[in-house]
């Protein structure tokens, strides 16, 4: 059982038969996400290993992990929104326990996690895990 936000996405995905609807959903999630403030679009927040530009701004607040993110690619923005559902509000000491490949596989989005893929989901997950491990 992942976060309620993520489980809600899983529930929605169960009603979608084809990849087009799933992509449409992910893209809409990306469009609905607030853009990252320009002040946070800095090199230190840039995630490398992505073909498009990706920034993640992470926080820990009262032992809970959160992050905001952005990308110049819409599908990647949507994937960031999915990852926010997966990781936001997870206790910092439980971030490492989140099995991102397995959870994304429930959405049929696990093909985005291969290290050869240049969309950077894997790099984002690594960034999230490393930030949480150091918190």
């Amino acid at each position: 059982m992942a976060t309620q936000n993520f489980e809600d996405i899983v529930d929605d995905f169960e009603f979608m038969d084809d990849w087009e609807d799933r992509y449409r959903y992910v893209i809409e999630m990306g469009k609905a996400m607030d853009p990252l403030d320009d002040a946070f679009r800095v090199d230190a927040n840039k995630v490398h290993g992505c073909a498009s530009q990706v920034w993640l701004q992470t926080y820990t607040d009262a032992g809970v992990f959160r992050f905001d993110g952005d990308s110049d690619a819409l599908i990647v923005r949507g994937l960031i929104a999915v990852l926010r559902a997966l990781y936001n509000d997870v206790p910092v000491d439980q971030v490492a326990d989140v099995d991102a490949p397995a959870e994304l596989a429930r959405l049929g989005l696990n093909d985005h996690l291969s290290s050869q893929r240049s969309n950077g989901v894997r790099a984002m997950v690594e960034r999230i895990r490393s930030v949480a491990a150091q918190a």
């Binding site: 087009e20 992509y23 073909a51 990308s71 819409l74 599908i75 969309n119």
Partner: protein
């Protein structure tokens, strides 16, 4: 008689599926697929005919050497070179252009000398010249294209000054498909004693090339774009320029004698081919070029021109697509963006789900993308095996991308 279905049947990969859809391969500008004859030649070379070349006196070494060396003649014929020894075998255009940069330009150019480049060169025809700028004060002069992607040969000729030593220019843009009138550039350059390097990485794939008609000093080609193996290629070097060159990479095979205090180099072109070469790759390239010539370069060009015209017509009907490069005689290479939302990577991801392989990004042409004011484009680039049905699938997928991203 050009029969595209017969050609398609020669390429086993074209019958596979990708993401549950029949593959529509439109990334030929990056690398082309291989016909069965090339795959068989590679297998045959390793299974029955393999040894190092130029070294042993044993049966297999002689056989491998004979097969390998015969490719020099095939390439000479493919490019219309006067003699086999005008061809230096290598791993592709990047190596060829670096051989010219290190072997010809570095010893012959002084600080303040100029190299003329067009703004639509591939990084392989830019970065080696940056080395000369950084290391010995050579000046790079850039010539712009017009809004259609056309490079006016007169603009290149007008850029020639008393200090100009080299013009390095593509024969066909890998991003825009624009063809360049290199023959006119070479004629004017020759009168002024300026050498011309033509990057034929794209052009040689899509139509006949004759280096003597062009009148260039250097002509670089890349095997993996020519339906041959990766790691194969060649550069044509005019004998007069070969005589002005020093070896670039040192090692075995490029020498006649090596002693503690002296070294005597082999004659060109061997002087420029140090170390054990890509033996099997080169043999495969020879087979690929024979395959192309058997189909006929004019026939390939005619087929691809009809694909180009069909694609232009279809894209014209899409009011949400902006195509970069609109010259009438361009190659079948289409770089585009979708108006409004949608990054090039978004578009290529959605196309991929429909089985359509295109490239997204800068296409190794940073200065051109800067010139166009873009950070990335999608590029659909066609080859001899593509069909109008491929284009239809591509156009359908673009509609979907527009719908999802718009």
């Amino acid at each position: 008689m050009f029969d595209v279905e017969k050609i398609r049947a020669d390429f086993p990969i074209l019958s596979r599926q990708v993401n549950g859809k029949p593959l529509v391969y439109l990334d030929n500008g990056a690398s082309a697929q291989k016909p069965q004859v090339v795959i068989d030649a590679i297998t045959q070379a390793y299974a029955q005919e393999y040894s190092n070349v130029h070294r042993g006196l044993h049966y297999l070494s002689n056989l491998a050497t004979e097969k390998y060396e015969s490719v020099r003649g095939v390439i000479a014929r493919f490019l219309g070179a006067a003699q086999d020894d005008d061809i230096v075998l290598n791993t592709g255009s990047t190596m060829g252009i670096n051989t010219v940069a290190y072997g010809w330009a570095m010893p012959n150019l002084q600080a303040g000398d100029e190299i003329i480049l067009s703004v639509m060169e591939h990084h392989a025809n830019i970065v080696p010249w940056h080395f000369l700028r950084e290391r010995q004060g050579v000046v790079i002069k850039w010539v712009d294209i017009d809004e259609t992607g056309h490079l006016d040969p007169q603009a290149v000729i007008d850029a020639i000054g008393p200090k100009t030593k080299l013009i390095a220019v593509t024969h066909m843009s890998n991003v825009l498909g624009s063809r360049v009138d290199v023959t006119s550039i070479c004629a004017a350059a020759r009168e002024r004693g300026v050498a011309v390097l033509v990057d034929g990485s794209q052009a040689a794939v899509h139509g006949p090339v004759n280096v003597r008609d062009i009148g260039c000093d250097f002509y670089a080609i890349t095997g993996h774009k020519l339906y041959g193996p990766s790691g194969s290629g060649a550069i044509y070097i005019h004998p007069d320029r070969q005589a002005e060159m020093i070896p670039f990479v040192g090692g075995g095979d490029m020498i006649k004698e090596v002693h503690k205090d002296t070294v005597i180099y082999n004659d060109a072109p061997m002087m420029f081919e140090a170390g054990t070469p890509g033996i099997v790759q080169t043999i495969g390239l020879g087979v690929a070029l024979e395959y192309m010539m058997q189909i006929g370069m004019e026939n390939i060009a005619a087929h691809e021109n009809s694909l180009r015209d069909y694609t232009v017509e279809k894209l014209r009907g899409l009011n949400f697509v902006t195509v970069q490069g609109t010259t009438a005689d361009k190659g079948a290479i289409f770089s585009f963006t979708l108006d409004g939302a949608g990054h090039a990577h978004d578009i290529s991801t959605i196309l991929d789900k429909r089985g359509v392989a295109v490239r997204a990004g800068q296409h190794c042409a940073g200065p051109l993308l800067d010139h166009l004011g873009l950070t990335a484009t999608c590029r659909a680039s066609m080859g001899m095996y593509n069909t109008k049905s491929d284009i239809d699938t591509f156009i359908d997928a673009l509609h979907l991308a527009h719908e999802l991203l718009g």
